[in-house]
Symmetry: C2
Subunit: 227 residues, 2 copies
């Protein structure tokens, strides 16, 4: 008798996502919008205005005690948080079209690229951190330079990771989690005045993505709460 | 004919990990040490002294252009980076014992917990960021408070995510990626003077982990480069 549980994810009917709690400009929300579009899943969008602090209201903290967006509500009431965890869940429960390659080494490269942006770049320049820097008495010019440098450092690392890898997408013929993290980060980088022309390889990947309706329709200015 | 590639990870013989590039005190290296120990994989450790800037030397940047540890070298020369991507690769290539539960929803909860620490906490208080704050002219007391607050915020969110979940480990009877991220983060929190007694639930999980040799032997003070 095998007493070990099967470690591979079960392919069973999963609860359907029904509501995405997000904010038009949040790049973590933007990632999940792209992933849902690629998987062909329609959800209702619930906007939480981050600059007004909607995400720290008690009703939202009951959904996500971290007080951050996005959160994906499923039928039955379960709530998923953290954009990468949400996208891995989508990948495991709605396998087509895949957002990760099949080979473990190739999967590791895609995830590493995604994490350079989702762990080492975006969290250092999101609204919460920039406000914390302002609270330390740093001026707008200094805070803006911080955000720009964080973005430039992350994009330069990602550019190096694509050395010798064929497009049109970051890791070949299909968009993956890498592309889903790249497109919103380039949006942030431009917003903070980074000279993104320094990364022609990344811009070529972005152009391939934006030619797909799943990416184009997830853009901040196409969302119901866009300002 | 099915023209879609199989999206599930292939269970095929994978190249064996041979060298872990890390630093005794780096919590991302610490995570990978725990995961390798849990999987029963022995590797040579190569220490890169972060405070002396070893990770920015050209020879290391050829392994990992991001200039961060850890990096896992495989036989054949491939190099994996980003601790969570490395651990997902380990999970896919060496399934036993599993570091993630089988159910997709349970996997999403484990990954979200891990990302609260690996994306929203640790990158805001690592050496690179604290040095960047010092470069902005902030004093040691202010920088220390920043690191402590970042840790306290992350631990409080993780504590809330465990509400109603049975131990002894973060998500039940086995250690998962959540525990692997928690133990090093608690180490950091103590180093920055956080009152970790405020999180008895997290401390109970940590105690269960540290009773396992895989966790105990991965501690910074047990590494060859410990100071």
């Amino acid at each position: 008798m095998n007493t070990h549980p099967d470690p591979s994810p079960r392919r069973q009917p999963a609860p359907r996502p029904v509501r995405l709690h997000g904010y038009f400009r949040s790049s973590a929300s933007w990632r999940v919008r792209i992933a849902l579009n690629l998987k062909g899943i329609e959800v209702a969008q619930v906007a939480h205005h981050l600059r007004r602090g909607d995400q720290r209201r008690p009703a939202y903290l009951r959904l996500n005690p971290q007080g951050l967006v996005p959160a994906l509500e499923l039928e039955g009431g379960d709530v998923l948080t953290q954009s990468l965890a949400i996208m891995e869940w989508l990948e495991e429960t709605v396998p087509e079209p895949p957002l990760l390659p099949a080979d473990p080494l190739a999967r590791a490269r895609v995830r590493a690229f995604a994490l350079v942006l989702a762990a080492d770049t975006h969290p250092l320049q999101n609204l919460r951190v920039l406000n914390a820097l302002r609270d330390l008495g740093l001026g707008e010019a200094v805070v803006g330079r911080w955000a720009a440098e964080v973005n430039a450092t992350g994009l330069a690392a990602c550019d190096a990771l694509l050395e010798g890898i064929e497009g049109p997408f970051c890791f070949g013929a299909r968009p993956t989690l890498a592309d889903i993290c790249l497109v919103p980060q380039l949006g942030n980088a431009r917003r903070f005045g980074v000279d993104v022309a320094a990364y022609p390889r990344l811009l070529a990947r972005e152009a391939a993505c934006l030619a797909l309706p799943a990416f184009a329709q997830a853009a901040p200015d196409r969302q119901p709460d866009a300002e």
